[in-house]
Symmetry: C2
Subunit: 467 residues, 2 copies
């Protein structure tokens, strides 16, 4: 998958590296913390700064888009070629909260470079990874002699990702026509490691529900009544226990209906990843692996759907004891979904499965939250091939494939725009997302620039848009 790098691209990046890093540092100094209301002006300032910078970069269109929450930034640079594919780059300009007292070695909003790493809140998540596209497109133009990118290039950089993207789907639906694209490039993810550059090919979806089980109208005495009336905490526990069979497969009838099974080639490629169970367990803060029979750990977290209890509660949880049958019990369940699984179908079968397990005398209230669909791009998709080739040229080596077990707003873009999602991220697990001393490796950041510079040409050459 490795391709020849382009010396013109590298030369251009070398010449503009210092200014690029200065600009990024300026952006990182804006504490655009979307979760903290007193930082709302900073989030707006961050959006304005980015829109101005994209205009300066050459985008003919760069707009701040309002939402009921924090503003997003949209930019567009047409290729001027009717057959050129259209790509939409997704990222976010808001960041997680951070204060020096959290354990930072330097001020989180005062970027510093130590040992070729840029330390700042947002360095990796996600300002650094959004920003490499600005120098990337300039390098692309410089190396190809073009005045416009080889693809119709659009950017949508939201301002509420760290707050759960509450208005993102509505924003995408509202502007679906302007956002229309043949592919979405998400630059808000990472790679396996510095030594193992990878392209992520999909994320799991997420269906979440809360089940409240109502028993007696009040807590009742377990001596006076125990053994003769249903206990809602017991019913809650039995639901959880019934989620899986003895092979740790989800036992809800119809749960696996229509799922896209992991192909042999992808399975083989994953098996070649330098996976070390001991270090993975350390990362998971866990003491044993456990999961669906017949699958490796990577398969379990990337390619298999799950049913997890995220919360359970009922009755007395304080010190000592209280001899009651609780009045109610609560379950928070979530289901990670893989390609082929439909959240509406999951809701339907979970409701039916639960209803069958609620005994007389217990009333269940089941509420599903808005779901996130899975997304998956097949290995042979031309856009994915282009991305892997572009990364291969930047990294001068083979590019491997991963998936993500998590779920994200990328799925909204996939759904609304009916476009495949490709993940171009250069962050590594040690970058400390959401943690103190977040950083980005400068060498990797520049590989991101370089990948971006190669990608648009490769896409335009290999994936023509049917006009």
């Amino acid at each position: 998958m490795s391709q020849t790098p382009d010396s013109a691209v590298r030369t251009y990046i070398g010449q503009h590296r210092a200014a690029f890093l200065d600009d990024l540092a300026e952006w990182l100094r804006i504490p655009s913390v979307s979760a903290q209301p007193d930082h709302a002006p900073d989030v707006r300032r961050s959006a304005d700064w980015l829109a101005a910078k994209l205009t300066e970069t050459g985008f003919p269109t760069a707009e701040v888009w309002e939402t009921p929450g924090a503003p997003a930034v949209f930019a567009e640079w047409p290729a001027g070629d009717p057959e050129a594919p259209t790509v939409l780059v997704y990222g976010h300009h808001d960041v997680q909260p951070a204060t020096r007292e959290d354990g930072w070695d330097s001020e989180p909003f005062e970027p510093v470079v130590r040992e070729n790493r840029l330390y700042a809140r947002g360095a990796a998540d996600d300002k650094g990874q959004v920003f490499f596209h600005t120098l990337g497109v300039r390098a692309h133009l410089a190396a190809t002699g073009r005045t416009a990118p080889a693809v119709n290039l659009k950017l949508l950089i939201e301002g509420e990702e760290e707050s759960g993207s509450p208005h993102f789907r509505a924003l995408v639906e509202q502007h679906a026509d302007r956002l229309a694209a043949d592919a979405v490039i998400v630059s808000d993810t990472g790679m396996w490691s510095e030594d193992t550059p990878t392209v992520c090919t999909g994320m799991r979806g997420l269906a979440e529900c809360e089940i409240v089980l109502h028993g007696p109208d009040q807590d009742i005495h377990s001596g006076a009544f125990g053994g003769a009336v249903p206990n809602p905490a017991t019913v809650a526990a039995r639901l959880v226990a019934a989620l899986h069979d003895e092979h740790a497969r989800v036992a809800i009838p119809g749960f696996y209906d229509g799922i896209v099974e992991l192909g042999d080639r992808e399975r083989r490629l994953w098996a070649e990843l330098p996976f070390d169970e001991a270090s993975w367990l350390r990362e998971a803060h866990s003491y044993a692996t456990e999961g669906e029979a017949g699958h490796t750990t990577l398969e379990r977290i990337w390619a298999r759907p799950t049913a997890e209890v995220n919360g359970i509660g009922g009755g007395y949880q304080g010190p000592g004891s209280k001899t009651i049958i609780p009045s109610s019990a609560l379950l928070k369940l979530s289901f990670r979904l893989v390609a082929g699984q439909d959240p509406e179908h999951i809701e339907k079968i979970v409701r039916a499965w639960a209803a069958e397990r609620i005994p007389a005398g217990i009333r269940a209230e089941i509420t599903f939250l808005p779901a996130t669909r899975p997304c998956l791009t097949p290995l042979d998709h031309p856009g994915l091939q282009s991305l892997a080739r572009a990364m291969g040229r930047a990294f001068e080596g083979p590019i491997r494939f991963t998936r993500s077990g998590g779920s994200g707003p990328a799925a909204d873009l996939q759904d609304v725009l009916a476009a495949p999602v490709l993940f171009l991220g250069i962050s590594v697990p040690s970058d400390g997302w959401h943690a103190p001393n977040e950083k980005v490796e400068l060498d990797l950041l520049l590989k991101g620039v370089e990948t971006s510079a190669y990608l648009w040409s490769d896409l335009a050459e290999n994936w023509r848009h049917a006009p």
Copy 2:
């Protein structure tokens, strides 16, 4: 079981009824709330008041016994007959908290009589039921012309029952020689109803444990790790689900070992009780009965052991969702035990059963609280026969038998003193124990006096102590 009442007893009670009620009212005015530290002087005043009143009643010995908490009262009146059996009456002089604002129609510590009911905190639980023994023993002496009771009569009236009797067992152990008795009479319980006077023949025991299940060292992301590591909340739920089999029998191996099964006669007698499932369910604030197959509701709460989850907790229980695998989960389990079950055995088999169900990667901490043993007096026990006859004379009708599903400090007396426990209580379910407007039915209170007056003679006649 009905016997002829004694007109001398009734005459004596009629003559002293007013003074008896005045005295009781004086005691009820002392707010001896053991759970509230600022009422500690009142609890002591209540003990002092009772000891003085017992001396006035004629008890040669009446002492206030100190504990590390609130004081108890001990009194003794020897029969002067070496073959006379010794009985120990148990009750408590502390009360539940109460304020007018809780919904009382009158001041809780200012007793009033309305419609032949005495309203006050402690009227039924337990001052009224302790106090009927004072007039009872006087009526017994007056009717029999004796100067000392026909039995060696001892009273132990504790001051911390409403606070969980934390020092009671130690107190009993400390004074075991002075408390030695052939039978314990517990006057801190009730009857089926005003129309159906009953004697309780036993209480269930109680073993309680807390199980903490430790999984990951911190909450971890259910997307990144879900499906590949054990979830402690799932393990907790599976333990609860494994407590019972499909017949709602406790599925812990050995749980039913050695239990005293309900006899045919007692089962038939229970079946004759005017049990109405609809009103029982209202009392249970519940919407369906459910329990061990092959047993009625009364059998389930009185004669069968249980396993209940009193509390369960783990992970996120707030509004909305949090996509985590929780670091730990908590279970509060309790087991109601019936005669023949040994709490130490229960602890052993629960620990073994749980250990088998803890998967790799999960660490369980299991803590058992001090247990309460079950107590049960067989229907043909001579003391129980005497009690039923004495009640039958007072109520002029048949006395039926019940048990209590609850567990109480009576079991400590049974264990330490190696004496059977008999329950003489005249309270009815509508008396509002622990609730606003607690009351005692004056007619029933005087039936308690009368029963007490008949009981000592009957016991002495029918159950000689082997000297």
